[in-house]
């Protein structure tokens, strides 16, 4: 038997937004969020701290928006990115009806936000953003880190196998990382590697 290269359930391909589904609170479904967005004329924001699942939620919403007839124009802004990438500025190239989805909206300088809102109004496009702090758009959902949700994610990633990474490991890393789910999963990758190699 030739053993393939070691698997790690916390690798980027498994934990990146889009690979994981957002886990909703028990009283909310993805359709409810789409409905709230529709009720606000397809404008709204998702607010939450770093690593609380905003990007994952946007990815989970994406196919539902497409199914609702919206044509998603998505962009992600990184630390210190004050201007929109080209697809956010070239309004003439947006499909109709366009749904702009901006992950990391708080990075934009105020003039860039106003310009984007003007373009969206002119094109009758929707605007869905994620942000660390409220920015004045209708708030659809506050995301908050939660140890139970994180444990459910780990359960999903490991197929329920807690023999290498235990629930106590998850709780400890979550505390050390100040309740940042993304950074916790990053640490669990390293812990998994250490244990796997030690046990070999």
């Amino acid at each position: 038997m030739i053993h393939p290269i070691g698997h790690n359930p916390f690798a980027t391909r498994s934990v990146r937004p889009g690979a994981l589904d957002y886990i909703f609170p028990t009283d909310l479904r993805v359709e409810d969020v789409v409905e709230r967005l529709r009720a606000h004329g397809w404008w709204g924001e998702i607010v939450g701290p770093h690593g609380s699942g905003k990007s994952t939620l946007l990815e989970t919403l994406r196919p539902k928006l497409e199914a609702a007839g919206r044509h998603v124009v998505a962009m992600t802004l990184y630390q210190g990115q004050r201007r929109l990438p080209p697809q956010g500025r070239h309004q003439g190239e947006w499909p109709t009806p366009a749904q702009l989805v901006v992950d990391g909206y708080e990075q934009l300088a105020m003039p860039a936000r106003w310009a984007l809102q003007r373009r969206c109004r002119r094109a009758r496009a929707g605007l869905l953003v994620s942000t660390h702090r409220p920015t004045g758009l209708p708030t659809l959902l506050h995301t908050a880190p939660d140890l139970d949700v994180l444990t459910a994610i780990v359960n999903q990633l490991t197929g329920g196998d807690f023999s290498v990474i235990t629930p106590e490991d998850v709780a400890r890393a979550y505390l050390v990382r100040g309740h940042d789910v993304r950074e916790t999963l990053f640490d669990l990758y390293s812990l998994y590697e250490r244990r796997r190699r030690h046990d070999r």
Binding site: I2, P4, I5, G6, N8, A11, T12, E193, R197
Partner: protein
């Protein structure tokens, strides 16, 4: 639509493959009554796995597609072979790993597809060790 039963296998080999070795295998697609296979794509590729951005490159690619409106009949085993390259060699690193695999994607009607992978090892680079 029923999902077809896809079998992808590599010929038995003792130990890892070496650069220049010929990789041989076969696949077959067991079609259930309502499943239609529009095309299949076979790739031999490597990809990285780890904590950062991922990379991928395709070493071999073959596509079989039915003529317009036709469906493919792949119930008989379909063999493939290709020579493996010199690099990159499989590597079980801590931050990044290099993984080789044969990937078969079966395209069904209505935009659905089925993906099957068979990993293999190229070369015998020792796994990285972590310093305590």
């Amino acid at each position: 639509m029923n999902t077809p039963r896809v079998t992808l296998s590599l010929d038995a080999k003792a130990g890892p493959y070496q650069p220049g070795d010929v990789l041989r295998g076969q696949y077959e697609v067991g079609i259930l009554h309502s499943a239609e296979v529009k095309a299949v794509e076979l790739s031999v590729l490597w990809h990285t796995l780890g904590q950062g951005e991922e990379d991928l490159a395709v070493h071999f690619f073959e596509r079989l597609a039915g003529e317009e409106g036709d469906v493919l009949d792949l119930r008989a085993p379909h063999a493939f072979e290709m020579m493996l390259p010199n690099s990159p060699l499989s590597y079980d690193g801590v931050i990044v790993k290099i993984c080789w695999c044969v990937r078969l994607r079966v395209f069904l009607g209505r935009g659905k597809d089925v993906l099957t992978e068979r990993p293999f090892q190229l070369g015998a680079v020792p796994a990285a060790q972590m310093l305590e």
